[in-house]
Symmetry: D2
Subunit: 369 residues, 4 copies
């Protein structure tokens, strides 16, 4: 809201008034923080972070960390260590033989697998092996653990709505009595149940009996959306359709019970940019985290060019103009808080009106904010 | 509602009153039709109907019929020629080279393919070739035509909500100016768009621009649910799960945009009964039409045994006890009006309480009502 | 759907085929009933029906009738004795001291009070005294009884969705063990709970514990919408707004828990036509029953003029052009099945395109169909 | 989430790693802020703030402030100046003859009137005069201004969801070209339209034509919920019902179009505590701001006693035990973010399990955090 300037000789009187107000735990509407926290467009290089993860495996024992994960800290957010104002993005690494013990929490989490083979996530009694490109869900209040039965480090990107949940002071966390949770279903069963298009098993209840509820109309019942299926579908559809002028051929990972976002709080996407494709610019509310699954190109965000390659991660802030340019066929994973923004009546979208619908590039991202 | 008997000497006076009321286009609440129309359990044999379809090809020209289709007429429904009170089931046959010309109507229709190869349905500019076992949708107010580029007769089951639409006096029908509607999409495109599990194309609008609207949140945007995918999923899941005690492993063909029934008015299912399986009996509101895709067995409906085999069609009336027994692996297709029943608050379901949860068989269906 | 004519010498062969088909309980798509049941516009005069009700009190004992009610039988519907295809309208009369004993049923019922004072409806333990113009609800599966503690006959209009419920073969009915149901709430409590605008009691549950559920998000929890409040609001708003060109100032009786129709199956309205007002014509799907609360005027339905006065009842069929002309200030009550029509995607509406948006009158209703 | 302690000699190595990570704009999951911002229970006295408002009228010109409003700043929230983590509460004062000029913004605002007469709020062309106890809505993106045609200062409590909107970086603000917005409706019209219980005007559209939309299914169309009506209903219902054991007789100010919360983001309540009433304790997610309309008593929040009287304002944080004790008949206004908490699947509620369901009091609020 508008803030006007104080004028003339009133200033001293005003300062006295402000001090009195401060004593009463009050604050004047029209005096605003001149430099509030604000999400900045930013990019974290895989080439910086993979070595950091290797070092973390050396110096950080699992007993200390519970999860050996490194947050991406948006430099515009100051004390808040998160990628956007509402979402976390962090890289997690697990060694062969390690177990990230069973717990559950009110924040929902996604895993997007980057490197390795043989690790699994187990969610509410279903174990699912993870491969690069897989999108794995551990929704609000589901028991989950991770383990690694293969060779070499296993690395994935975690996405969580934790800053949002903390905003509502609704963070709950519980550790399970044992390290692992008992398996009660065939490995990867939900994949067969919901992986065949537009077919829904009729005998499955939407809600478990617990309280607070896990609600499979609120959050997806599908543990692992395999990359092979998403990738094949993207490349097939790109032969037959244009997709969106702003986003190309984009698939949303949806909750099969509702067709809506995979989580009540996060929408998640896989997107194919064909070699040489240059999308139109647009902006919308809802801050988005992008992760490059494969390929090389750049995005123009608010006039600045951000070059990206395999496994880099970057942020497009809410209401920032953005467009993508691909030098190779490229597949991007992304997630954002638009399901919440929409439910609150705060979603807005605008196409860029400039020449050709694309921005003039006025700078290049240097690695610093 | 309860109807009491008139008593004693009042009858003559009553009759005079009734006549006076009749003159005034009135009717007493407590005088009910003693034998109102009522859906009966019934079965139509493929062995009776295939010859009838062959004869229809000889004697019924397309110009006369527009669609060469034979209704199953439930004998309990008297003047109303339909399989259940709300739904049509009919067999349609088309010859090589014929075209069932483009039209659209407010009733929604499904096609379940029984025999033949090379015929197609085209819906709103997407052409889809049909094979036995395919489930094809032509929802409310979508332009559609059928044609046949192959050899031999092509036969399918049509399911329509027309009696329901007529009940509301909301039947609209329109012929297209040309025999066929222009194709604007890759053949079978919607299959690739929605056939990969739990992935949703983000660039597609839910509604077309017309008025009255085609609404793809109301009715499915997927033209053809291929049998191969449904069948594979059923047999795979049957190895891993029990499914429902009443229905075995059952998949609903859903609208990928909502996870709800494929049509606002009809829910559609494919169901696997393993060799030797004998389900528990239950009853629920919502009359159901079953079609045997493959296999042999029988169902017990209200105590009567109905033997069925390949391509037979039978009806389980609303609120009738029913259970299924399979002699071979059997796959059944079925559809019913439960989406409407549920929306109106009229859905009820009850498990059979008798010994072992299964009915005593008190008779066998003879082919007559 | 289109029906073509058979041509030439094939007729005999066709007849043989039709007979064979009939034997197999089949019917050809293209042979339609030339004269199917169809709702006609119709009007029932209060001056005819009040005497019939008086006679009914003499000749029809409560023990025989359970409810002493006379249906309006639309002459176009043939064997079906109802006002429209989906809805009943009937006049019910109760004598001082009589009780219409407690029962419940899956059809929902409304009562619109016409004459008398001192009678009450009791719904799920809340007793509510009725006065002329009151709109009273007894939704799906709620226990209810009526009694009369005053003088003279008490008469009201019943509206029920019973033909619709019967269409789905989902009619359930149950008598209570006692004549009256125990009272558990202050008389008319729901009126105070929901009668103050846009305020909702927070301690009330939407559902009772029974099964099948009474669901107060599906059907209204308000037993009696008093006429005084509706009438005052209508006359006040008419001073300040135009309302709709087709319907004037119209208020819907809504479910306060949802703002939607009072019943899952029926929408109910009170409407003020100012003296001399002549509305524009339109048509929409959904057959409507009108009841004249007070005033005198006429409606033009499909070109025919229907004159009405105090307490008359008339039907506007689905998709019929209609407009209203008022000679005095007039208040109409009406109800229709549009909530269902809308949920099924069958709602259509059209403004009349003729000169001035009003129909030419081509005839006057004579009292006969 | 759990944070473990680092052990032994690894600390130096860890510190080096942390520094390297910091350089790469990263942060370890397991190192958490030991003292993060956190909503504290707090109470602001009217006797402190009324003098501050009087002084503000002297020293703060309208040209500087646009709105002369003083925020309640929860001492636990540090740099964020708001009452709870998601909601603002502030007192606003306006002098006779002043105008708070027309603007609109994406945060929704409520006004709860405390003192004065003759001032008005005008929303989207409807002017509504305000009296003490009135609850006034200016939803997301509605044009609104305030003016004062009476005598003496006019004071109200503003409640806004602005911290929530800012969290999503979705704050939009626009000033109108003129000081006041043209009036297009009768003064206070929406009060007559929606103030009569459970009656809905049928001719009103839910959405205006603008983009971004004002959506009257999302936010209430009722500008002013008059206190007289709410107060009468509370006192009447308290004679007939118990209400909730935790909250007594409580009415929610709802959106008449949906029966849901008045705003997509805020639920608002009026609550009567009878003289001598002592409620049971419970806790739930969703931080709540209470304002004492009239009466005297205290609340026990997390074991601490907060004494309150006329026009005081206090905060019950999310997931804090709380119960109320009233020395006189008391009416409280309150608002919270539970509509959002519920939509996100984060709502939890728990009854206090201790003796008699009420807390032991372990301290008394001293006026300091």
């Amino acid at each position: 809201m508008a803030v006007n300037e104080a004028s003339g000789t009133q200033l001293e009187e005003l300062e006295l008034f402000y001090e009195e107000l401060r004593q009463a735990n009050g604050h004047p509407l029209w005096v605003r923080d001149p430099n509030p926290p604000k999400v900045l467009p930013f990019l974290w290089k895989w080439s910086d972070y993979r070595p950091l993860l290797m070092k973390a495996m050396e110096v950080v024992p699992m007993e200390m960390a519970n999860r050996r994960a490194l947050f991406f800290a948006n430099p515009g957010l100051k004390e808040q260590k998160s990628a956007t104002s509402t979402l976390l993005a962090n890289l997690q690494v697990i060694k062969p033989g390690e177990i990230a013990p069973t717990h559950r929490h009110s924040p929902s989490a996604l895993r997007f697998v980057i490197e390795g083979k043989g690790a699994f996530t187990s969610v509410e009694g279903e174990k699912s092996y993870m491969e690069p490109g897989d999108f794995v869900t551990t929704p609000n209040w589901t028991w989950h653990d991770h383990g690694h039965e293969g060779e070499g480090p296993m690395i994935w990107l975690d996405g969580l709505d934790q800053p949002l949940v903390e905003k509502f002071e609704a963070l709950f966390w519980e550790g399970y009595e044992d390290e692992t949770y008992p398996l009660s279903k065939a490995n990867g069963l939900s994949q067969r149940m919901y992986g065949a298009g537009s077919l829904r098993p009729t005998w499955v209840k939407y809600r478990d009996s617990g309280k607070p509820f896990i609600d499979y109309q609120r959050d997806s019942p599908m543990v692992n959306y395999k990359y092979a299926q998403a990738r094949d579908t993207l490349f097939q559809l790109a032969k037959e359709t244009e997709g969106s002028p702003f986003d190309g051929v984009t698939l949303e990972y949806v909750n099969p019970n509702t067709g809506a976002a995979a989580f009540a709080t996060m929408a998640c996407f896989a997107q194919l940019l064909g070699k040489g494709q240059h999308t139109k610019a647009h902006r919308h509310t809802g801050g988005t985290i992008y992760h490059v699954i494969e390929g090389r190109g750049h995005s123009v965000i608010g006039g600045t060019r951000f070059d990206w390659g395999d496994k880099d991660t970057f942020v497009v802030p809410s209401w920032s103009w953005h467009e993508h340019v691909s030098e190779t066929d490229a597949v991007l994973f992304s997630y954002n808080d638009t399901p919440v923004v929409s439910k609150l009546g705060l979603f807005r979208e605008e196409a860029y009106g400039g020449t050709g619908g694309q921005q003039a590039v006025t700078g290049t991202f240097s690695g610093k904010a």
